[in-house]
């Protein structure tokens, strides 16, 4: 690893800085970042975040000559899930995920990155989504709901993102969302085939060129359709649309779906009814009145990209609190800005770490310890990561998107 040699390689430092690691010299090695990094919570992994800024200063990241050493180093560079827990805590304003992304960019340019990520990048370039599904099918989720294509004059473009558009499980999130929006009388349409992956995950995995291509494709599709306001299901689409696309020429407002839901509730356009039971929960055989009395215990997980990275903590909670019959719980020390990442960001969704190295396993355990029956999420990646963990760990916890819970209560 980096310990093997500390002789500086200045030219590598220079190209790492040039690729985007601009704040590495601010680090004063306090180690605060490591204490909040989710890898710190896993049993099997030692991931000392604080060494990366220094290693970058020395040009000593992913620079081992030995094959095995290098494989470990590249794996390490790809461990960071971009949760930005470290960024929030760093007293010096160092951005470690950014530093590692700079290294990833160079690696990706030379095809020197994990094989599991390569098809993801290829498929986005090929058909515009990481699942490799044809563009013509991007609208299929909306078939039975008669959702119109976006027309000028409509207020919102609803952008479900790739997984809610294609994945059989995640489609339920998109259909629930559309049902809620219809019920509230929101004027909205979709782009269907013209919608392209937002590119956020592969950008964080280092595939900058394909990200740029995806961004330009969406920016011009939105512009051509006359879109002014976009509402998204995924916090990953949200953050890249809001914070990154404007630098590439985008000119539209973006809302996370929980923001719009909350606004609609506040305006009285949505009136959730008592949610007395969830069909999926397999409630025990007690009497109806009993069930009605006991609220359904729901714990909310803050997606890193929505909470820490964009400060959206209260709207998702506001939606849940307004559903009668739900009791909203918190994961004590690990909620709001201290929420533990699901592990799905920055390419993590596809990296498939072995047992003992999965953040989601720890997170669902934390959720179940609150006594919750439902783990509510507001991100398609979180939903997939947590459902996988719940299945492999055989836990009695239902993972649901806020849109699904809300749709259930209308």
């Amino acid at each position: 690893m980096m310990e093997t040699s500390t002789t500086p390689i200045w030219e590598l430092r220079d190209i790492i800085i040039e690729a985007g690691a601009t704040d590495i010299y601010k680090c004063y090695q306090c180690g605060k970042c490591a204490s909040v990094c989710p890898w710190y919570q896993t049993e099997a992994v030692n991931f000392p975040t604080y060494k990366f800024p220094l290693a970058a200063q020395l040009g000593r990241i992913a620079s081992s000559e030995g094959k095995e050493e290098l494989a470990r180093e590249v794996e390490e560079v790809y461990r960071c899930v971009g949760c930005e827990a470290c960024v929030e805590q760093c007293p010096q304003g160092v951005n470690i995920p950014n530093t590692l992304r700079a290294v990833r960019r160079i690696l990706v340019d030379y095809g020197s990155y994990p094989d599991t990520l390569k098809p993801v990048v290829s498929k986005i370039h090929n058909v515009g989504n990481p699942l490799g599904e044809p563009g013509e099918k991007r609208r299929d989720w909306a078939k039975d709901l008669a959702i119109p294509l976006f027309q000028p004059g409509m207020e919102y473009l609803y952008f479900p993102g790739c997984f809610p558009a294609y994945d059989p499980r995640l489609r339920k999130v998109a259909t629930s969302t559309a049902k809620v929006l219809k019920k509230a009388g929101v004027s909205f349409g979709i782009l269907g085939e013209k919608e392209w992956c937002c590119g956020e995950a592969i950008r964080r995995a280092g595939a900058e060129k394909i990200f740029q291509e995806a961004a330009q494709s969406n920016i011009s599709a939105f512009r051509n359709a006359g879109v002014k306001k976009v509402v998204v299901t995924s916090p990953h689409c949200y953050t890249t649309f809001k914070n990154e696309y404007p630098l590439l020429g985008a000119d539209f407002e973006v809302f996370h779906i929980t923001q719009l839901f909350y606004q609609l509730i506040e305006e009285g356009k949505l009136k959730p009814h008592q949610l007395s039971q969830l069909p999926e929960l397999g409630e025990p055989n007690d009497s109806k009145s009993q069930r009605a009395k006991d609220p359904i215990k729901v714990v909310y997980h803050d997606p890193c990209t929505l909470g820490r990275q964009n400060g959206i903590y209260e709207e998702p909670r506001g939606v849940l609190k307004n559903i009668p019959g739900l009791e909203l719980l918190e994961i004590g020390d690990f909620s709001h800005q201290f929420a533990l990442c699901c592990g799905g960001g920055s390419g993590g969704l596809w990296l498939d770490w072995p047992k003992g190295e999965r953040m989601a396993d720890i997170r669902v355990q934390q959720a179940i310890e609150t006594g919750a029956k439902v783990l509510a999420v507001a991100c398609p990646y979180c939903l997939q990561m947590f459902e996988d963990s719940v299945k492999t760990m055989n836990l009695g916890l239902k993972v649901m998107d806020i849109a699904e819970l809300l749709a259930e209560s209308l």
Binding site: I9, E11, L12, I15, I16, G59, I61, A62, S63, S64, E65, K67, L70, A71, E73, V74, V103, I106, L107, D109, Y110, G111, S112, Y113, K118, P119, V121, S122, K123, H125, N126, V127, G132, P134, I210
Partner: protein, 257 residues
């Protein structure tokens, strides 16, 4: 031990949506990503492992347009010492034999103990270049090689046969081995090696330089088309429950379960 590795830049087609272009003889490539051909990557790794053990040099050769140099540079970054790109300009359509002829003309002037190729290109799937090149150079060869052990002047190799059998051969060097995937674990390129590779010169040769104006074209692609749906194919429709029930019925009726 001087090793020549022949590599090919191919479009990633395994999971991609493939469309035939207007000529009807090729596929549309603008929405595809390109990489080193899978088995060539294993051949390259094997060459580097052999070099690490026994010293010597690894020379990469690729026939193709300037874009091939991206793939070549990746190989240089993984540890190859030098590289040649034979420009395909003016050659027109190439089949397996013609490519082997070009490679033969390029390699015959080099000093080498071993030539490694992949066992099959994932784009055209010909599997011809390796063996044909060996024949043209008059050296022995083995295909689908899954193990290489070098002794002085000889190589012991294992190759895959049908039915899960392996064949062990002793072959006199110089020889050519067409490497099967899975023989090793291809490495990453380190940042420092990437840096060095970026500065390395790739020698570009043209038809004249290798003394071959017109390679012999013996096969010509007439037409590319998706196979017609077979009569025996039945596409199951409906939800998971319905389709799995139907599938189980079919399996039972055919005596599979």
């Amino acid at each position: 031990m001087d090793i020549v590795v022949c590599i090919k830049r191919v479009p990633e087609t395994a999971e991609a949506e493939i469309k035939v272009d207007s000529s009807g003889k090729d596929i549309l490539k603008e929405r595809l990503t390109f990489d080193i051909n899978e088995s060539d990557n294993y051949a390259l790794e094997e060459a580097i492992l052999l070099k690490e053990k026994r010293g010597g040099t690894v020379t990469l050769i690729s026939v193709g347009p300037p874009e091939c140099e991206d793939t070549i540079r990746m190989g240089l970054a993984k540890g190859a010492d030098q590289a040649i790109r034979v420009s395909n300009e003016g050659f027109g359509e190439l089949d397996g034999f013609a490519t082997a002829e070009i490679l033969k003309n390029t390699i015959q002037d080099l000093s080498y103990d071993l030539i490694l190729t992949g066992c099959m290109a994932t784009d055209d799937g010909y599997s011809q270049v390796g063996p044909t090149l060996a024949e043209l150079l008059g050296i022995p060869h083995a295909v689908l090689v899954t193990k290489v052990d070098l002794q002085d002047g000889n190589a012991r190799v294992e190759r895959e046969l049908e039915g899960g059998l392996l064949e062990a051969l002793e072959i006199k060097l110089p020889a050519l081995f067409a490497i099967q995937t899975g023989i090793n674990e291809p490495r990453y390129a380190s940042l420092i090696a990437i840096r060095r590779a970026a500065a390395k010169e790739i020698k570009v040769l043209n038809a004249q330089a290798i003394g071959l104006e017109r390679p012999t074209l013996r096969t010509r692609v007439e037409n590319l088309f998706p196979p017609p749906v077979g009569k025996r194919a039945e596409i199951l429709k409906g939800g998971a429950e319905e389709t799995s029930k139907r599938l189980a019925q079919i399996y039972k009726s055919k005596g599979i379960i």
